[in-house]
């Protein structure tokens, strides 16, 4: 009887897991099947024509790339710095719990609220206008919780023995962190961060109000220029375009490129992790 029950549970859990894979597989299959026909050199290297019904999506790719780079540049130092403080320096008291609560809350804020926040603070109050600067800052706020949590976990994963040994050899706290904590936790931090940023790269709501342009005839010249971006371009093509029904291949092609970009980021994260895992093993 017990054996049968066990088999039943095993089978059920397996089917549930397979179901998840099937859903992901179907999404990938659908996008690839319909998008592959749109993919060619012209599609990724030229500007859109007729509001995106023809031509390529080059400026949107460039725009999303800039936004990702900008977000990384802002949130990585902030997130890692914050995590080091929380994991290594902060007293584990009430104030610390409050900071943690704030971070968890921040992670649960809907992305459109981040968009509105970015509009209010960075676009209007700081006067950046709709720009790469404002968009990157907004996206950075959004991924900050992910980065802090991932970084803190990987800092805490460094064995206590390394800390004790460093201190006992006369290292100061910062020397200990710099020489015997950060080198081992950096890969985990970067991996977690890239996965978070990968998600942000596909977000529409935060950039909608802070940076994204429907169409721009030229590439941005500074961080205070607007850019086109893949998720927003896709949103326009799929829902706002007068010819939405007739340009399915353009929509799928854009989706496929966005997907490849995010997968590329995740793959990069995995490569970094394996590289460091081989280097430091304990």
């Amino acid at each position: 009887m017990n054996n049968t029950a066990d088999k039943f549970i095993t089978l059920s859990l397996r089917l549930i897991t397979y179901a998840i894979v099937v859903v992901i597989g179907y999404i990938l299959f659908d996008i690839i099947k319909n998008g592959i026909s749109a993919l060619n050199w012209q599609f990724v290297s030229t500007f859109p024509r007729r509001s995106g019904a023809e031509g390529g999506i080059f400026p949107a790719i460039v725009g999303t790339f800039y936004l990702v780079v900008g977000t990384i540049a802002i949130c990585l130092p902030l997130g890692i710095g914050g995590a080091i403080y929380l994991a290594e320096y902060a007293d584990q008291g009430k104030f610390n719990s409050l900071i943690r609560l704030a971070i968890i809350t921040l992670a649960g804020v809907p992305s459109i609220v981040f968009g509105l926040f970015g509009l209010g603070i960075f676009v209007l109050f700081c006067g950046f206008g709709p720009s790469i600067m404002a968009g990157s800052l907004t996206l950075a706020c959004m991924v900050l919780p992910t980065i802090i949590v991932a970084s803190e976990e990987s800092l805490r994963a460094v064995p206590k023995g390394f800390r004790d040994a460093s201190l006992a050899l006369g290292a100061t706290k910062w020397e200990m962190i710099r020489t015997n904590i950060l080198p081992y936790s950096l890969s985990g931090m970067i991996t977690g961060s890239i996965l978070g940023i990968g998600r942000a790269a596909g977000e529409t709501a935060p950039i909608l109000l802070t940076v994204a342009a429907f169409y721009l005839p030229r590439l941005p010249k500074s961080v205070f220029d607007q850019v086109m971006a893949l998720p927003y371009h896709l949103y326009i093509l799929a829902t706002q375009h007068p010819e939405a029904d007739r340009i399915r291949n353009m929509q799928y092609g854009t989706a496929l490129i966005l997907l490849l970009l995010v997968l590329g980021l995740s793959l990069g994260a995995i490569l970094i992790r394996t590289h460091f895992r081989k280097k430091f093993r304990w």
């Binding site: 064995p159 023995g161 800390r163 201190l167 050899l169 015997n180």
Partner: protein
């Protein structure tokens, strides 16, 4: 109770503790510990788990500073300097007083980089000088012959006993006068334990060693003086043969004859 009488008259004392009390938050872990530790001898701290011997050891290089809400009341003098006086440079103290931990904890770096770690953070950059220190330290820790051909291999590839001797070499590389050992052989097999004990026997010629051990035979084998701790109190300290043959306190006798602990 500072017991001068147990030591020969002209013996040099390196560590003097004077009524040391230690608290983890509201819990008192050490009560009025007054102990003298002689230079270039091995002093063993024994007692049942939770008796405070490790806590006391970790007071001697202020490793307990890292524990939140912990407090020390009392004085510990090392070379006539009060190490808990305000303005004490903890880095300098830990250069003087090295420590070896229960669980061997080499860094996931090369054998060379492990030993060179201490000298490097203290500003030694000259490669020849570092090479010299590394060789000397590894030789002192009796592991040179085993690793001299693979100094740049990862230290994690060494066996448990080798790792512990590497950690001793790493501690010696900083040039301490005093070596604190917190159950250095408790996680090792008998053969590796013997090697560590032999090593302690050699090091005692040049270093003052304080060793915490659970293993009474080990205390009897390696130490010159033994201090028995029980429930945060120092019950008795005497020459090791005396403690193990003719202790003055009933509790000591009960413990060493295996009646508790």
């Amino acid at each position: 109770m500072v017991e001068h009488s147990i030591y020969p008259k002209d013996m040099e004392m390196v560590i003097t503790t004077n009524q040391v009390n230690f608290y983890y938050g509201p819990t008192q872990a050490l009560f009025d510990i007054s102990l003298l530790i002689p230079a270039k001898h091995v002093t063993a701290l024994i007692g049942p788990s939770g008796c405070g011997k490790s806590t006391f050891l970790r007071c001697l290089n202020r490793m307990n500073d890292t524990i939140p809400h912990s407090r020390v009341i009392g004085n510990i003098f090392i070379n006539q300097k009060n190490i808990y006086a305000p303005g004490t440079d903890v880095v300098e103290l830990r250069k003087e007083v090295g420590m070896v931990f229960q669980k061997s904890n080499p860094f996931p770096k090369s054998i060379f980089d492990n030993v060179a770690y201490g000298p490097r953070i203290h500003g030694e950059k000259d490669h020849n000088r570092l090479t010299e220190i590394v060789e000397q330290s590894l030789q002192q820790a009796a592991i040179w012959d085993e690793v001299k051909d693979r100094l740049h291999a990862n230290a994690m590839g060494l066996s448990g006993g080798q790792q512990q001797r590497l950690c001793i070499a790493r501690a010696l590389a900083v040039g301490p006068k005093i070596l604190l050992m917190d159950e250095p052989a408790s996680a090792l097999d008998p053969k590796s334990t013997t090697r560590i004990e032999d090593l302690i026997g050699e090091l005692r010629n040049n270093y003052t060693i304080v060793i915490v051990t659970h293993n009474m035979q080990q205390a009897a084998r390696v130490s010159d003086y033994t201090a028995f701790f029980y429930e945060g109190q120092l019950i008795e300290c005497d020459a090791t043969p005396k403690i193990f043959t003719n202790p003055r306190q009933k509790q000591t006798e009960d413990y060493i004859t295996g009646r508790f602990g």
